[in-house]
Symmetry: D2
Subunit: 476 residues, 4 copies
């Protein structure tokens, strides 16, 4: 209920999202395919979902609302969409208090090319500056999302052609962005020059698809062709002619946290299977940290893969230590006083038979605030684990992300103010080790300079202090 | 359900609406007062309702949704609004198929003065031209309502001051508009230079109010001060200092149809009680048309007053001939086949005892398409009326309105293609007479040149054929 | 929202309601007709609405929900009903705090005749006793409404035939009831032996209809045949054969308050037009109370008719003094503190031009608590009325109703503890007069002994103190 | 939408459900604890959820609705519940077309002990017979669920005491039932004499809890005490005095399918960890079926455990072959034509890197219709699996369940009309083997005669053909 009310957080940041776009030569039930594609991307955003289709030259039909994909759309809602040959879709991440349908995407607007629509994943760090500049020039904005600014900028510069508008706009944008744009009977996909956010290209019997992750292309029974390159702008016209051009200043710095946590394990990003990267992290942990323990387990869902990798190399038997409630979803009430201390039990339960009297290695993908880790360690001890050795399949998270991942500010990140030993004590583990950066980078199949690793080492690919997010950095 | 889906009618017209604005020196439950004010204006728009309040310098909290005022807001929704000293509200007219929350008002946006909000009643006939021009300059628009264009224009021109922006914008707007604008800790109210739409000023123990009709000011237990003058811009700052300036080209041409049908009978517009005007029309009908009948009645609700006036002058006893279902509301299903022919019975029932074997004079405020009149005449005859003489308390409606009243196009208006005699035959009355223009004008307390009477005589106060609505005019 | 939650008021009373039933030889869109019939009865109950149809032998499809008829049903909901030849419908009165969908009607159940359904208007004063007895016999009940008890009783006794069951059940019921029952391919209508509640029979091209008021039959373009007689049970079988039988102990005592306030003015009850009765009351007031005043007005809606009658006889000119907001509906928030004292202004506004400097006679149908009357008198004075003389078109309401009209208990009824003079002072009128009982009775076309006049004179047609409602009576 | 409409399936079966009950000496936020308990049982029923609390002697407050636990309840809904010392809750399984709020539980009713409430998991096979008998005795029923019949029966027989009523009622019930009953300031829990359905007892700092599975007790930070015994009736009074009695004819035949699929893997039923049972099944499969393959995988979620057991014994490396979309929920639209053939891809995606060019063993918990298995095998082959050998961690499902598990009728069960070889061919696997019954029984820690294994071998613990479900059996 309250989430429908409109908090007017002045310049709120846009969080992790998922996007999709499809163009076909034939008119078809496009909204259905977009629906299933978004459903595969649901893990990237549970706050709102939206679909927009171009149904005749320069006309767009759309529907967007707060909620999960299958809450927002039903048979009737989808049936109301016209058959069409082009459409885009979006899912948005849920952050407490910012639920607001005006911030839902795609952004649909009247512009130089009639009705246009934009869907965006990422975060533009000079967005406020651009917005302020455009406001000074007399523009108005009706939401607090970057996407509206991107839309305005694209339109502003597309006097001669949509392609030129997209390119000029992107040359100005600083930050992370994967975009799908629908206008002028074309579908345009853009990946920022650092390729911070994933975006891939697929083919379904001739139809062309773009999606944040390959799992969406797989789920539509289509074939993954390739990832977009850093700074690549792909324009597909109504005849499905595809043309690529590039934003200047290309310099790959892909988000390494996609492999650590964000992406689905069955997706492949820039040539590397997420599953394999996580498995490899586990193997490396085993090579580095030989712990005298009886069993190894992972925190579901993402760290289970790493725990298996650990087991393979170390020979420590893999077991399931924790069972996760499969219905943990978007909205949730506060537990009553009597449960608050043990709130993790609502989400996770111990598989007691597997851990009783065992010396346990527990692998997690990362530690953000540390409170959940502390509760998990306690839960395992309460269920008989003799020892709990924690291994983290990534380095210490110590710096905030300015590119679209909703992490805490530095003072909330336990790694921002405590060292490993202190964290170990805080979470109550018998020992704690993190995977070094070089290992993570290797597991993700690249070189350090290919990735944005800022959340771990503060090495932001953009001089953050030049922008208004700099104030956080100065606190480091 | 379907009304929530988004039909993309390219350039749909904005219909009759109601607006309200309040500013106080003290922070208070502003949303509650706006709620009750809008409730008093509900007859001006049943499609959507919205309230926006400024809660700290340059911040706005708002909520708007499809539905009646008491459907859109409940205690929880109102309680979520912060206490504040300024707010505006809007109700929008329901037209089939155009229900869309993005078209709900107030329009709230980020602009030169931080968060701003605009609510509008009227229709801007050069809106498409302005919109196209702004799009060419690189602006984007996210809805199909005039109000967004007005908002963009005000912002565009308010580089130096909000007041200048409002004035320059209004100088460009052609058409009908009553506006309330909230920005920069100020409340601004505007009435167009022709004063086509009503807008009045009230005082509630020092608080300043603006509302479309005096009935809203009455309902808030406040005192009506005066109507805004043609072209008047009233700016009220946070200290409740009020300052008036004027748009150039002032030339009063107030909508005479407000008196005929649109306004509530307990409102007073430009110094004339709507009730009195309607009563006077009835009296004049009696002076002009002496009909040998037993009783006189009015079609509820608006024409009952006129029927009483007729009765007073003619001596023909007034009776109630028709009872109206008080729950006729916003949404309504189509009657089943067996009822379609007699659908008027869902809305109106005959008071049989009053009309049986009677020669009846029936007064209505106007005839638009003629179909309802035909069914009413038949209903009365079916219930025993020996004769039904129809009197209309206004001239023949023969021309479409381009200033915000949702009337049919000329070919749908029965007065657009039939003469009085033909209409009489079409509706099945024994006789039919319309009130001449000079009488209506006199009843409304003015001179012909003070009013827009275009729907009756095609005398548009603006050269319609210069604008894209001209195509209709050419068909005349 | 909160109204959907379930308050478990142990033995709450059932309030005023409206019922309808239709049976046809042909299968048709029955739900549509029931919908429009209920819509005409909306004034009898705004809390919940429900429709049940028998769609094959012994099967019933139904839908019921909290809300107004056009909120509960939409095209989709109606389309989901199967075409059928028999159905019943119900609207329920809104009382604060008792909104609960389990208390909505019709009551649909599995019983001796397969699926059965009952809709009820009235109040059974020995309901608790019957319920307790049945519970002792092992029955269970899932709601707090009389209708479930009636349904259980009918079923209990219908071992041999539905008709016998209805008759035996009714012989036990003490109180007011109009029923429509659908079971065994039959439609049964029942009016209690005192004919306390109205119920009439109509014909629509061969189809047979029952409805609480004739206005529902009119709205369906059908013909009113007659009222059911006191204690009449009409059974209509699938061949539309109609058979009447009678409950013993017939003794007409019809509710006189239907004429005063409850019924729609265009309905006819037991041969008397409600409109005429109200008009006659006004005329009698004029004969009795000659007041030196300038104008006479009525409180909308029901007392306007009486004011006209007064005007005709007295020669005092009728004027409209008050305008009523047409959107006053089911749900409503509490006004903010600043408005609470003047809350009547939300509902009513003065037509200032008609009352300024006038000595005014104001007619209302009745005074229940007195608070609204006080506010109305004040409103009129605030708007310039020099004098306000109140006339009530019925006697002093001084006793609670136990037969289904939601009135206050005796200590809340201003007539229960103050005399005329005291009430006059309390409401701030210049004078106050009530219509004597003999006049009211005469206006309603009957003799005193034909009516239940208990709310006025405490002459309950049933020895109330024998039942558990007796405790109120003892307080008199 | 349509699910809210009421399909009148005459005697529909009740499906798998989850129940919970809590009683405390102190009044507390009972609804919150019930909420979280139900949330832990969500996997047992996604159609509707309900909570009822006893808030003063003989009064009950409840709320129930279609939807998932966190859709049905929010902070406001829970806050509306009074603090209390006793409450019960229920979640119901989703079956297409039977969504109907009148069928939601708990069933709350007025009976011999005031307000009473019952929640039920299971299926009463002589329910129709009892219902018919009670209807003949004059009872009525308002829903199509067994629970209402159970409630009526308990009430009928509880003339002397609630305990006696429960016992006598249970003596008559034939079938599976786990019950929690709230009445007369007591909380009663019942497990049927065959202990077909699980029900366990927990303690939370003195408060007493009953729940379908131990995972609910764990999630509430309480301690699992024990399972109820076959036929055990536990009555807990307001002083938390507990008293057990037994239904006659005790004969344990617990549902073995709880271990195979229904229960959460972190639950413990009748002393056996579900996780361990599944792991053991995998180990036994390895002992029985030595397959020359490269890797072994499980179909998520339930069969992954078995695949690990297989890996441990066989030495075939465990890998993840399939990734499951975590947002598969209650409602889902039909895929568009182009996706229908590959609809499994919406739910599952192949982890290509793990299976490419691999000879794969895939373990599933069971095969019901076979269509999903066929699609999974194809999906794996499409992603490069060279061979797919299917192992099922239970015997062939060949017989319908009459005790509350929503399985297909025999002609829909692929095991009902095809032998192993034919099924292997139908699903397109390279080989297919099922776990023999004796192994499954052993893995579940009991003897064959302790379990109901009817879905596998048709050995129903009750002579099914005596009841109206017999018609299915005869078709075998």
């Amino acid at each position: 209920m309250k989430s429908i009310l409109l908090p007017q957080n002045e310049f709120e940041r846009q969080e992790e999202c998922g996007i999709i776009g499809i163009i076909s030569k034939e008119k078809k039930e496009m909204a259905h395919d977009l629906y299933f594609g978004l459903f595969a991307l649901q893990h990237r955003g549970q706050e709102s979902a939206g679909i927009a289709v171009a149904y005749e030259p320069r006309k767009v039909y759309y529907y967007k609302k707060m909620g999960l994909v299958n809450e927002v759309f039903n048979e009737d809602k989808l049936a109301a969409f016209p058959d069409t040959n082009c459409g885009i879709g979006h899912v948005r991440y849920s952050t407490t208090g910012s639920s607001n349908v005006v911030n839902a995407q795609p952004v649909v607007f009247y512009g130089r090319w009639g009705r246009m629509a934009v869907a965006h994943n990422g975060n533009i760090i000079n967005c406020d500056a651009i917005k302020s500049r455009l406001i000074k020039q007399g523009h108005i904005f009706q939401s607090s999302i970057d996407s509206e600014v991107i839309a305005a900028l694209i339109n502003l510069y597309s006097e001669n052609s949509l392609e030129e508008g997209v390119k000029r706009a992107c040359e100005e944008l600083v930050g992370a962005y994967a975009l799908v744009i629908m206008a002028d009977n074309k579908l345009v996909a853009v990946r920022d020059p650092m390729a911070l956010k994933p975006l891939c290209l697929g083919d379904k019997k001739g139809d062309i698809l773009f999606a944040s992750e390959t799992c969406a292309i797989d789920s539509l029974d289509a074939t993954v062709i390739r990832d977009l390159k850093p700074g690549e702008i792909v324009v597909v016209d109504e005849n499905l002619q595809m043309h690529s051009s590039f934003i200047s200043g290309v310099n790959r710095r892909s988000c390494i946290f996609e492999y650590v946590y964000l992406a689905r394990s069955d997706s492949k990003i820039d040539g590397v299977n997420v599953y394999d990267a996580r498995y490899e992290c586990g193997k490396m942990l085993a090579q580095l940290f030989k712990i005298d323990a009886d069993v190894v387990a992972g925190v579901p869902d993402s760290a289970i893969v790493s725990a298996r990798g650990y087991s393979e190399v170390s020979g420590v038997p893999y077991i399931d230590a924790l069972s996760k409630n499969r219905y943990i979803g978007r909205t949730f009430i506060q537990p009553s006083q009597s449960l608050r201390e043990n709130s993790v039990k609502i989400k996770l339960n111990a598989i007691r038979g597997n851990i009783k009297n065992k010396r346990l290695i527990l692998i997690d993908d990362s530690i953000v605030r540390g409170t959940t880790s502390r509760k998990i360690v306690q839960l395992l001890r309460d269920n008989g684990a003799k020892e709990v050795h924690m291994l983290i399949a990534s380095p210490v998270v110590a710096f905030p992300c300015f590119f679209g991942v909703d992490m805490e500010s530095k003072d909330k990140l336990i790694g921002g103010y405590k060292n490993e030993q202190e964290i170990c004590k805080a979470i109550g583990a018998d020992s704690l080790h993190y995977l070094p950066m070089d290992c993570l980078v290797k597991a993700c199949g690249g070189k350090k300079e290919d990735f944005c690793t800022a959340c771990f080492d503060g090495d932001y690919p953009i001089p953050i202090d030049k922008y208004n997010c700099g104030k956080f950095v100065l606190e480091i």
